[in-house]
Structure formats: structure tokens, C-alpha cells
Amino acid sequence: MTIALKEIRQGQAFAHLARRINVALVVFLLFYIVIGLLQPTYLEPAGAMNFLRRAAPLAILAAGQIFVLVSGGFDLSVGSLVTVTVVGGSMLTANDPSNTGWAIAVLYAIGLLVGLINGAVVAYLRTPSIIATLGTLLSVNGVAMMWSGGSPRGYLPDNFRMFGRLVFHDVPVVKIFPVAIVVLLAVCALAQWGLHGMVFGRRVFAIGDNARAAQLAGVQVALVRIVVFVISALAAVTAGILLGGFGGVSVDVGVGLELQAIAACVVGGVQLMGGRGTLVGAVAGALTLTALFTLLTLLGWPQPLKETAQGVILIIAVAFGAWRRRRTG
């Protein structure tokens, strides 16, 4: 009898563990193994590092977006913030490395301002975040266009581009080590601590779950809302710096990134009306989406079918999550 009980408890422990593993991580590893089979260079350390470098901007965007999603909102303005970062960065630095320091400071200030505006409109004007951030998306894009006259005016100096582009060579074990991964790890550590380690994170979850109840329990809803939008905006600026570094100046670098960030979070198990999600899930979702695109390119799928695949994955991921929740109650 006791032996049977022990076996049952072991089985329960195993099931408990299995339930805690994020599905997106599993899917990502599966995708990556297939990629490795098709293109063995990805299984080498250098290839893996390159992959992470590519995925870093989306992962950072997702790490910021998760705060807003968990609180029950949407931030549609992050793509245009990325654009303004790259365009503005080129205008401010004007190919002069000595400008990089203060230019980056100004860009973060712009992000802070946009985040504050988003948060204030949602918290004080009670406007739904879909509309508020849609409005900021249009306006920030307009500002980026107005500022640059439609075409970015300068080159980005090398020390600005270092964050996205610089790679340390001859590193032991991993062979190459992109600076972008340092940035990614730093952002992930901060986000993990902010969302899951601090009291602040618990408040964000509480608001997403039931804002009225959280308010009655003493949470300062307005303040928390503003802070989450600021976090998302600052993450967007960081992702913009990486993308500008990796790719150089461009006018439409941010197009569609907000929906990709939301998709990444959703694939990673973040619940869309708020209250549930993990940072690991968001980052895993970003890695999964990046792996999906790489896989489809390697398979030679035409661009339009890649969109179809993204749509299918999205629906399956969310349907699966909803089914799982119904099962576990």
C-alpha cells in the first residue's frame, strides 16, 4: 500500500513538473533541432550565437510588452518607437561617435515621454489602450517622418551600432559572443526581477486579473499602469538600438513589430486579457517565432506562406492555452 502511494506521489510530481515546463520552450527546441538538421551550422556554437543575436530585438520587445499584456492592456506603439529610435538616432549622432552617449540618452527620454503619455491617457482619460496606443502609433510615426523629412539624415556611428552588431571573436566555448546577447540577458534579468521578483510585479498581475478588486485592496492602479507603459516603451527603444545597430538606417524598420511582440508573448502563454504569463514564456515565444521564420526560409517557403504559418501557430498556441486552462481549472 505504501509502495503504491509513493508511486502515485512520484507520478504526481512528474506531472506537476511537466505542467510547469513552458510549451513554447519545447516547441522552440523542436523547431531548432529541425533547423539544425537542415543547416548544421546552426548547431555549432557560432551559429547558435548568431541565432540569438537575430532573436534579441524581438525578445526584448516581448519582455517589455508582457508587462502591459499582463496588466490587461495592449501597447501598439512599440513598432513606431523602434522606427523613431533608428531614425532619430541617425539624426542625432550624424555619424559622429562622440554624439552617441547623449543621443542614446535623448532616445530613452523620448521613450519615457511616449510611455508616460500612453499610461496617462489610459489611466486618467480612461481610454482603452488599444485606441490610445493606436493613436500614439500614428503620431510617433508622424513625428519620425517629420523629424527626418521622410528619409533619415545621417549615418549611425560605429559605437552606436556596436550594441547590435559587434561580436567578440575567439571566445572560449561559444567561439563568438555578440554584444547584443549581453543586452538581451541584462534586459531579461531586469524583467524577470521586475515581473516575478518584486512586489510591483504582483501588483501588475493583480490589476490584470481584476482591476477593481486590486484598487479596493489598495493598489495604486493609475501609477502601475503608467509604469508598465513606460517599461514597454523603454524596451522598445532598447530593441531599436539593437536593430539600428544590426541593420543600419532605414525608414520602416519598426513596421509590424508591435503585433510580432504580442504574438511572441501569446505563443509563450501570456493571457491576453491580463493576469497570467511568465517572462520565460514571452522570451521563449520570441525565440519560437524567430525559429519559425528561419525554418521556413531554410525550407524555401515563399514569403506569403510564412504569414500563413504565423497565423496558424498563433491560433493553435492560444487555443491550446485556453484548452489547458479549462482542463486544469
Partner: protein
């Protein structure tokens, strides 16, 4: 039941995808007659004032415009498809500066921006015609077929000048444009064929499918590549995105070991493609980009084997010049006015490279003599 709902879209999708081979295209992008016409135009010598290619023409005949003669100064209206890419931004700046240069003849110049929407542009054109505030209308159509009825209706009330893309009606006084996509494809493919080592691998980078000006470029180049047995290892769509371009090129380098040449249907991501070679530690390829300053700069700095075809932005100057002539009753070239389409070669690179102009400025702008140069175009 649930399973059915999951399967249904997949089945529907498969059905649609199966219809693909039978999809009929309204416009043929692989027309051998157009290809031949472009080759003939490339061989012609332009006639017109020396050093002013936006006033020159390749063949064509003169159209009598006496019936449009009016007393100046004129009120000109412009229906713009949009300014949603740097090429159009430079062109639009050229046009505005040209209007400034002719300000004695032009009383007012009103522009409507359709933001890339056909539906809006039709309404914009109708509004201009209805307003009665235009002596003449310049149109840069967003798409050829869709704008044709609106242009036809406009022709009945005032002289219309079309440029860049055409329309399916011959009612405009003239249609200004350079040789076009087939010419570009011929110029670039010929260059690559002449420089490519035997058995060399070519990677073609394209922006989007279905864009008429881009499709004709690829169809002409592909035809020449096939005729010469060139090994094209891939033709990928980059969406005009730097990051994606770099990723695609990196993947191809990994898979093929070495890429000898890059063909591009537009130059916006040329530098990104070259950086992919740098980051992979590979030698630079033979490359055809476009006349953007960042590409020219890199070409000069790194001593590349390259050429820059152009779809010259100076074609935005010609319609203004043509319109003023039409309203003065002076003859213009029509019904089609073909502008020369030069390329930038190693020999004339130094004439066009300019460090002080923005990276996405188009060097073949023909704008150095216009008021406001270089600040108006973002230069120093």
C-alpha cells in the same frame, strides 16, 4: 466538431493554394515586346539640352498644345500617390524645388497625398477637378489600372500630365517616364554577366512580389541570366528590411560557401547585404545596387566591383516643366516622353558620391542647380 473547425481552414487554404497555377494576371510582366523596346531605347542617344537629362528625350514626337494656352501665372494641382519611401521623398523635394524655380510662372501649386491608397487618390483627383482651382493636373498614379477612370474623367475638364507609372488611357497630354524596369534589368544583368567568373553564383534580392516596376526589372534580368546560363542560387524577398536582408544573405553564404554576385531590384538594403559579407568574413561580391548615397559611399570606400542603375528622381522635375509649357501653348514631347535612364559606373562614381548628403539620398536627382540645394534635401 472542434476538430472539424480546425481542419476547415486548412482545407480551404489548400484549395486556394491549388488554384494558384491557374491565377491569371492582368498585367504581363514578362513581355518580350516591351523587353525589345527597352533594348532599343537603351541604344538611343538622347536629344535635348546638354547636361539636363530631365529635359532630354529619347525619340518621341512633339504634341501641339495650342488649345491649352492660357494667360499665366498658372495654378497647378498635383495628385501624389504618396511619399512613403525615400525615393518618392527625394522626388517630391525635387518637384517642389522645381516649382520654386519657376515661381514667376506658377501662381499656386496644390498637392494631395493619397498615402498609397487607390481609393483615396481617385477621390483626390475628383476633388481637384471639381474644385475649379486647377489650370492643369499632374498625376503620379498609385496603380495603373485603378486610376485610369479617374484620369479619363479629369481629362475632359483640364489638361492632365502623368508621370512615373502610366495609366491605361491615352487622354493625358503626355506621360513622362524614363526607360523603366526592363531597361534596369538589362543594364544590371549585362553588368553582372560581364564580370562574373565562370560558374559563379548569383543571389537575387527582391523587395516584394507584385509591384509592377520591380517585377519588370527582375523579369528582364532573369531573361538575360537564363540566356547566359548564369547560376542564380536564389531569388529571395527581403521586404526592404535591413535586418531580414542581412539574415537572408548570411543564410545563403552559410549554405553555398561563397556568393560571387548580388543582384538587387532596388538599392535600399544594398549596404545591409554588403555588411552580411563583412560580418561573415567573406570577400565582397560583385553588386548592382542603386544610386543611394550610402551604397555609393561604401562602393568607393571598399573599392567594390559595382554599378548603380537608376530610376532617376529627376523625372519629378519634368512634369512641372512640361505643364508650364503646355499651359503656355508651347509644344511638348508626347503622348509618351521618354527620359534617359543613366547608370553610375566606376568611371563617374566620383561625380556622384557626396559625404554630406543623407544616406538614403538619391544621387541622380538632377537637383544641384535647384533652389535650396543641399539643405532642402537634408544635406550640409
Amino acid at each position: 466538431m472542434r476538430l472539424l473547425k480546425l481542419i476547415a481552414p486548412v482545407v480551404a487554404g489548400a484549395a486556394l493554394a491549388g488554384a494558384a497555377p491557374f491565377a491569371a494576371s492582368a498585367q504581363n510582366f514578362d513581355d518580350p515586346k516591351e523587353f525589345q523596346a527597352a533594348q532599343d531605347l537603351l541604344k538611343m542617344t538622347p536629344s535635348g539640352p546638354e547636361g539636363k537629362p530631365w529635359e532630354q528625350n529619347l525619340g518621341g514626337r512633339e504634341v501641339d498644345t495650342a488649345k491649352y494656352k492660357k494667360a499665366g501665372p498658372y495654378r497647378i494641382c498635383f495628385s501624389n500617390a504618396g511619399v512613403d519611401n525615400p525615393w518618392r521623398v527625394v522626388g517630391w523635394t525635387n518637384m517642389q524645388a522645381q516649382v520654386d524655380a519657376l515661381k514667376d510662372d506658377i501662381k499656386s501649386f496644390k498637392a494631395a497625398d493619397a498615402q498609397g491608397k487607390d481609393d483615396k487618390q481617385i477621390s483626390d483627383i475628383n476633388a481637384f477637378v471639381q474644385s475649379g482651382d486647377c489650370d492643369a493636373l499632374i498625376v503620379s498614379p498609385n496603380t495603373t489600372a485603378a486610376l485610369s477612370p479617374a484620369v479619363e474623367a479629369a481629362c475632359k475638364k483640364l489638361p492632365v500630365i502623368v508621370f512615373d507609372r502610366g495609366v491605361l488611357t491615352t487622354c493625358p497630354v503626355t506621360f513622362v517616364n524614363p526607360i523603366g524596369g526592363y531597361g534596369w534589368g538589362i543594364q544590371t544583368a549585362d553588368f553582372i554577366v560581364s564580370k562574373l567568373p565562370k560558374g559563379g553564383k548569383v543571389l537575387a534580392l527582391r523587395i516584394l512580389p507584385g509591384v509592377d516596376v520591380l517585377e519588370t526589372r527582375w523579369s528582364a534580368a532573369n531573361r538575360i541570366f537564363k540566356e547566359n546560363g548564369v547560376n542564380v542560387v536564389g531569388a529571395e524577398f527581403t521586404g526592404g528590411d535591413n535586418a531580414k536582408t542581412k539574415q537572408i544573405v548570411e543564410d545563403y553564404i552559410n549554405r553555398n560557401g561563397k556568393i560571387d554576385a548580388i543582384w538587387m531590384d532596388a538599392g535600399a538594403t544594398a549596404v545591409a547585404a554588403l555588411e552580411a559579407f563583412e560580418d561573415s568574413g567573406q570577400p565582397y561580391p560583385i553588386i548592382t545596387g542603386e544610386d543611394q548615397e550610402d551604397f555609393l559611399k561604401k562602393w568607393k570606400e571598399k573599392g567594390l566591383t559595382a554599378m548603380a542603375p537608376t530610376y532617376p528622381t529627376y523625372q519629378w522635375r519634368a512634369p512641372v516643366i512640361a505643364t508650364v509649357r503646355v499651359l503656355k501653348g508651347e509644344p511638348v514631347i508626347g503622348p509618351t516622353w521618354k527620359l534617359p535612364q543613366p547608370v553610375i559606373t566606376q568611371a563617374d562614381l566620383d561625380k556622384y558620391v557626396d559625404d554630406k548628403m543623407p544616406p538614403l539620398h538619391y544621387a541622380m536627382c538632377g537637383c544641384k542647380d535647384l533652389p535650396g540645394y543641399p539643405q532642402r534635401w537634408g544635406g550640409k
